[in-house]
């Protein structure tokens, strides 16, 4: 189960995230699983692999917005890096970034 302690230990800036949720712990925690749903992450990965960098950028940008609002910093970091690379449509090896992204996402998702 995801708790505030789990999030803190994970490295999330829970004070910031909680503040945006009017310090309602239950509400804040209820939003976390949605931010961890695989769909968004897969869309980034699949689009990059298919060479569809525009679509990949849109997906990464959207996910970045959600993660930043919830202050899930460890996942936000690689997603932000991917977003910036995609913004410039950089042709590079995204694998390491994607791996970090998945690693961090899975780490937290394990608590669901």
């Amino acid at each position: 189960m995801i708790t505030l302690d789990v999030l803190k230990e994970f490295g999330a800036n829970t004070d910031e995230g909680m503040e945006r949720c009017l310090n309602e712990e239950g509400f804040y925690l209820s939003l976390i699983p949605t931010a961890l749903e695989k769909e968004g992450y897969l869309k980034i990965e699949d689009s990059i692999k298919a060479g569809k960098l525009d679509e990949a950028f849109e997906a990464a940008h959207a996910l970045k917005g959600v993660l930043s609002n919830l202050a899930l910093s460890p996942i936000l970091k690689p997603v932000s890096e991917i977003t910036e690379l995609l913004r410039a449509r950089t042709e590079t090896d995204y694998e390491p970034y994607l791996n970090t992204m998945w690693e961090q996402r899975d780490k937290l998702a394990a608590y669901i």
Partner: protein, 570 residues
């Protein structure tokens, strides 16, 4: 801090949150849910649908920019083009600094960065944006004329002041625009057509003021004011207005008139400057061959003279500078022409300006509502004079006094006039009452009822200016009157068998049908007298017999005829 209407009215406004990410939507919903009824859309198309479904009830939209299919920019573009949606304020949600500028340019009122600010900041921004938008809407609604969208009078003068303030060195013209006989266009083509014409005129004015960096206003009905830098000539301005209205006016250049107060003096209040433009415009009201009139020295002198009179009115009433002159009326269908009665005519003996004619000051009295005081003064003076002559000569010379529409509608009118007659020991038929034909046209039923009551009490009521064109034949047959007085305009130029003479004969037939005597005034020449006598006119008034004279002079006329007058009274 201004009062926010929902606190007073207990209204929970609706806001629409548009974001393709459910987490973001829920988070904003949480922040705003306490103060607002929050609606959601997950993409641009859905957002526009919701805005339209709620038809004007969404107070604000929070809009994510980057969304699949229709993005935030496209939504704002569509809103801008839709009259219903254009005034809904939009706050853009974005993590992109560059997008902030672009979205403000597209019409967003504010932006909220992602990740979101502290909830209090978001709440404050939303509240302030709604307040500003509502105030703007209220101002837009109150400052504009609903039909044309031009400024109304009050706001126009405000903006004239602002324009002067920021451009103190630019010379400006004050212009007044009017459409000749606009009421006839409304009557003949219908109100819708008339309104379309006014809208076309307003559009032409709008294009002019945009191009010239001025402002325009619809003052009332078909009256427009323009405040423009001295650049285009009045002729060029008239051409623009004529071109803009040619779909509605047969000969637009000749139907529009323009009053120009050039390089308007800024020391004057804006109202005064446009009074001058309007004065110029009205000076060509009946002159269809002239379309442009300028406020000039002559008008300036007239204006200064009127202003002097307005200032002196109060004192003149106090100091009794007014006096009554009398003009004799003669019965001409008897063996010998005999003086039968008189008409009371007011004069103002101004201590500095000398004798002032009523046509110079009566309109001013009518404007400031003092004309009734003046009327009552004349009634009292005239009744006292009838009594004085009665006491002196033993005969009654009835005197005709003017009674306006406003007088008739006063609740105490009948008491007042009866009281005046009674207090002088006269009969009601001794003080003749004159009502103009035009008085019968408005509130005619009420006027007819009052006149009937007066006649029931024994007063004689004459209709003045008959033939000046207001009565319908149908109305005439039901009018309670004791005599018809022909409009002076017909008498002035009558000659044997000419058109005016034919008109007189026609009116004689109407009088005959109504079985009332006819009076002609303004008779100056022998030929007029002869023609009118032959036509059967009963009574005549005019310089041919006597000009209006003071009571003392009138007394000589009575003295000379006292025997015949007594004989006639028997």
């Amino acid at each position: 801090m201004n009062e926010f209407a929902d606190e007073r009215l207990n209204i929970k406004r609706k806001v629409l949150v548009v974001d393709d990410e459910i987490v973001n939507r829920q988070m904003l919903g949480k922040i705003l849910g306490e103060d607002y009824e929050v609606h959601y859309a997950s993409n641009g198309t859905e957002a526009l649908e919701k805005l339209r479904d709620e038809s004007g009830l969404i107070s604000l939209m929070l809009l994510d920019l980057m969304m699949p299919e229709k993005d935030g920019y496209a939504v704002m573009e569509e809103m801008k083009a839709d009259k219903e949606l254009a005034s809904i304020p939009v706050i853009v949600l974005t993590s992109e600094r560059a997008a902030e500028v672009q979205s403000l340019q597209k019409g967003a009122v504010d932006f909220i960065p992602k990740p979101y600010d502290m909830p209090e900041v978001i709440k404050a921004r939303v509240k302030r944006s709604i307040e500003l938008s509502e105030k703007t809407n209220v101002i837009n609604a109150t400052q504009s004329d609903a039909l044309t969208g031009l400024f109304n009078r009050e706001y126009f003068y405000e903006y004239v002041g602002l324009l002067d303030h920021y451009n103190p060195d630019i010379k400006m013209n004050a212009l007044a625009v009017n459409i000749n006989r606009f009421h006839l266009i409304n009557d003949m083509r219908g109100r819708k057509f008339g309104n379309d014409l006014l809208i076309a005129m307003a559009d032409a004015i709008r294009s002019l003021v945009r191009e010239e960096h001025g402002i325009g206003s619809r003052i009332d009905s078909d009256s427009f004011f323009l405040y423009l830098p001295v650049h285009k000539t009045p002729e060029e301005i008239l051409t623009v207005l004529a071109n803009g209205t040619e779909a509605y006016l047969d000969n637009p250049r000749s139907r529009i008139r323009l009053g120009v107060y050039e390089s308007a003096d800024r020391a004057l209040e804006p109202e005064r400057r446009f009074d001058r433009a309007l004065m110029a415009c009205n000076s060509i009201r009946k002159n269809y061959s002239t379309q442009i009139a300028y406020y000039d020295e002559v008008m300036h002198k007239d204006e200064a003279f009127s202003e002097r009179l307005i200032n002196d009115i109060g004192k003149a009433l106090e100091e009794k500078q007014f006096c009554v002159f009398y003009q004799a009326k003669f019965a001409i269908q008897e063996e010998k022409d005999v003086m039968s009665s008189a008409e009371a005519l007011i004069r103002w003996k101004h201590p500095d300006l000398g004798m002032i004619r009523p046509d110079q000051f009566i309109p001013l009295f009518e404007e400031n509502g003092l004309v009734q005081k003046l009327d009552r003064f004349v009634w009292r003076e005239s009744a006292a004079q009838i009594k004085a002559w009665k006491d002196k000569f033993g005969i009654v010379i009835p005197v005709l006094v003017n009674v306006s529409r406003i007088d008739l509608l006063e609740t105490d009118f009948i008491d007042e006039i009866s009281g005046i007659v009674r207090s002088n020991g006269l009969n009601n038929e001794d003080l003749l009452l004159e009502v103009t034909e035009s008085a019968y046209t408005e509130n005619s039923e009420q006027i007819v009822e009052i006149v009937n009551r007066l006649r029931g009490l024994g007063f004689k009521v004459e209709m003045d200016d008959f033939g000046s064109g207001y009565s319908s034949l149908n109305m005439l047959s039901s009018l309670p009157i004791d005599a018809l007085k022909l409009d002076m305009g017909f008498i002035r130029n009558i000659h044997n068998n000419d058109k005016d003479m034919k008109m007189v004969e026609l009116m004689m037939d109407i009088a005959d049908f109504l079985s009332v005597p006819v009076i002609a005034e303004g008779v100056e020449e022998e030929e007029q007298y002869r023609l009118l006598k032959d036509a059967g006119v009963d009574l005549i008034q005019g310089y041919y017999f006597s000009k209006p004279v003071p009571a003392e002079e009138f007394e000589y006329m009575i003295r000379e005829r006292v025997d015949s007058l007594k004989e006639r009274e028997k």
